[in-house]
């Protein structure tokens, strides 16, 4: 069609202006529609963020962040939920980051991309990322609590009630660690790919072994990527509710979790229960908005930092 247009244009120079006009105007419609889509997404994001910020801004204060809830969640703060969330993602990161980083190193440094092991691991990682979060919750209940926890109880504490075979922060953290593992792996792998080959070769040429090269060259060079992965994992883990509903989160606890087999309060779960099961929605509304805003600030701020580090890393790759 285009060649045809061009040919008629050369044969009839008088039609050139009309043709140019047609080409230009025809382009504005798809372009305009695409631009509209961008603007709608921007508008939706603004509405979501704006309504939450406006609704929650008045509630947030030093007292709100540092005090426990009072009067059946209608007053007081959300300190136990913040503490529980931080403790949860901390445990999660301890479990997920080393495994994720080593997996990425194995995939990038130790195997060829077309080997069977690599392909299996890749399929597993991709699908782990796609498993619905509620299925992770079921798995946490069936595997960590009933199988591992129940097993520990049967062997070490046969006379008592459940010690480890019950919902607990460690089981919730391990469930979340599996959920966020792909995030760490993908982000570390991306960083490993940006490391110039020459650096690794220089290390090997100077007599460094493979392990030494990984420890002294590869991992330090990949630190921004590992950091990005860890931050994204924290942000993702802090926002997930479905996997921890049955594996350890509690709506209200009079104490903070101090042992690995304690239950805990969590921001996302707090929001869910307050929003859906509160006897008096109007009375808890300010606290609810405040809690949502705290969770939003936590996750969005962490994500922005990760995006920033990643875009810097990508620019570095272009220069090398």
């Amino acid at each position: 069609m285009m060649t045809h247009d061009a040919m008629t244009a050369t044969e009839q120079p008088s039609a050139q202006g009309r043709l140019d006009f047609r080409r230009k105007t025809r382009g504005t419609i798809p372009r305009g529609l695409a631009f509209l889509a961008v603007m709608v997404v921007f508008a939706l994001l603004t509405i979501i963020l704006g309504s939450i910020i406006l609704g929650g801004f008045g509630t947030i204060s030093w007292e709100f962040i540092t005090h426990p809830p009072e009067q059946g969640m209608e007053a007081g703060g959300i300190f136990p939920a913040i503490f529980g969330t931080v403790a949860l993602v901390f445990l999660m990161i301890i479990a997920a980051v080393p495994v994720g980083v080593f997996t990425a190193i194995y995939l990038q440094e130790y195997t060829r991309p077309d080997s069977l092991g690599t392909r299996l691991i890749r399929v597993a990682v991709n699908n782990l990322a796609g498993v619905p979060s509620i299925v992770f919750g079921l798995f946490g209940l069936g595997f960590f609590i009933a199988f591992i926890g129940g097993g520990i109880d049967a062997v070490f504490f046969p006379a008592q009630g459940p010690v480890w075979g019950q919902p607990a922060i460690i089981w919730a953290a391990l469930t979340l660690a599996l959920l966020t593992l792909p995030v760490v792996i993908v982000s570390t792998e991306e960083a490993l790919r940006t490391i110039p080959r020459e650096l690794k070769e220089a290390s090997l040429a100077l007599g460094g072994t493979k392990l030494q090269t990984i420890r002294r060259i590869t991992i330090p060079q990949a630190t921004p990527g590992i950091l990005t992965g860890a931050i994204l994992a924290v942000s993702r883990g802090a926002g997930e509710v479905a996997p921890i509903m049955f594996t350890g989160a509690a709506y209200y606890l009079p104490y903070l979790p101090t042992k690995l087999n304690d239950q805990f309060m969590e921001l996302g779960y707090h929001i869910y229960v307050m929003a859906t099961q509160s006897p008096d929605v109007e009375a808890t509304k300010p606290i609810l908005y405040g809690t949502v805003l705290v969770l939003m600030i936590l996750t969005v701020a962490l994500n922005s930092v990760a995006i920033l580090i990643r875009s810097r890393m990508r620019k570095r790759r272009v220069q090398v």
């Binding site: 798809p30 695409a34 961008v38 921007f42 994001l45 595997f143 926002g239 869910y272 939003m296 875009s311």
Partner: protein, 364 residues
């Protein structure tokens, strides 16, 4: 220099000029010749590089440790498979559970009370527990469909603009902002739909109920948009330059290049984005749990309530008795979800892999 100093475990090479006049022994055992050599270089700078027999062992141990970690993801996915299915297995093996919630009872219409007509019904807590999965299936598909209808135009449209029309500077703004949408936790999107969107929709549409499938579907769409956007955008930007150049050489305008060259070439990538987005919409829990009303009814209307597979598990698992029929059925639903999303994600990934090889010119 820095590398040299830290490098403690590597044997020095014996055939270099530091030790003249000696043929290199290639064995690494502690022979007397080696002892002599070590003595001779004792006071030189090379001393700290002397051979330590631990090296090889540590090297292979490290490699094994790394490999072990790498297989955790694989083991995890297998364990998830095994443990979800194990809990669902009594549906087929246990006689009592099978009579109450066998495959026939979950799929086909049932007569629950004498004299009444047969119907599909999900009422696990009633006098006569009813475990028909059909209302849940309908609810899941309905919510996911609305989400896709909402997310595809916006996600693909924004991707086209970002990849094709936006100036590089504007693109640097568009991409992170759309990706920011992915950073919003699903419980927050659910909260937004429950408190704000539901009221808005009820006002403009004049609905009798606040919570319905449309409300949940739109909120679900918000979670799907970034997935569709990111994958579609990647597909379009990875279309080889040669294709664009060819179109330009034939006299195409920028928009003609986009619509007649880049877009058709990137269609597999865009559809992969849509497929993966659909996988997310099927499995997403908190949004539908909070925003859809959760009534397990048989209705195709977008303005009626919907109860999805995932929301059913989330809402009911806390109340069930470990190992009873209801518990088993919920794990069976979990297995369904797992298999369904596994297949959806696998097909999405396969499309992406094929697209990649095609753009690299490896396809015959």
């Amino acid at each position: 220099m820095f590398l040299f100093r830290k490098n403690k475990r590597r044997p020095i090479s014996f055939n270099n000029s530091l030790v003249p006049g000696l043929t290199p022994p290639h064995t690494s055992g502690g022979s007397s010749l080696q002892a002599l050599l070590l003595f001779r270089i004792e006071n030189s700078n090379m001393k700290r590089l002397a051979f330590k027999p631990k090296s090889k062992f540590r090297e292979s141990l490290g490699a094994k440790f790394i490999a072990l970690n790498a297989f955790i993801a694989l083991i995890a996915i297998l364990l998830i498979f095994v443990f979800i299915f194990k809990e669902a297995l009594p549906i087929f093996s246990d006689k009592d559970i099978r009579s109450e919630a066998g495959l026939d009872r979950m799929i086909n219409k049932q007569v629950y009370y004498e004299g009444r007509e047969a119907k599909w019904s999900w009422q696990p807590n009633s006098e006569v527990p009813k475990y028909s999965l059909y209302p849940l299936f309908l609810g899941t598909i309905k919510a996911a469909l609305i989400a896709m209808l909402f997310a595809i135009p916006l996600g693909v449209g924004a991707a086209i603009y970002s990849a094709e029309f936006a100036t590089p500077r504007f693109r640097e703004i568009v991409k992170p902002i759309v990706e920011l949408l992915a950073a919003i936790p699903s419980v927050v999107l659910g909260f937004f739909a429950l408190m704000i969107l539901a009221t808005f929709l009820q006002d403009i549409l004049g609905l009798p109920f606040r919570l319905n499938a449309l409300n949940a579907g739109i909120a679900l769409g918000l979670a799907v948009i970034p997935i569709v956007f990111t994958i579609a955008e990647d597909a379009m930007t990875s279309v080889p330059r040669s294709l664009r150049d060819a179109a330009v050489a034939l006299g195409a305008n920028p928009w003609q290049v986009s619509l007649t060259m880049v877009l058709p070439a990137a269609i597999p990538g865009i559809s992969a984005g849509i497929v993966l987005g659909f996988g997310r919409a099927i499995g997403e829990t908190m949004i539908v749990l909070m925003a859809s009303g959760n009534a397990a009814i048989i209705s195709a209307s977008f303005l009626d309530s919907a109860r999805t597979f995932s929301a059913t598990i989330a809402a009911e698992l806390a109340e069930v008795v470990f190992g009873d029929t209801h518990y088993t059925v919920l794990f069976f639903i979990g297995s369904l979800l797992f298999v369904l999303t596994f297949l959806i994600n696998l097909s999405g990934d396969l499309i992406l892999v094929r697209l990649k090889t095609r753009f690299q010119g490896k396809i015959k």
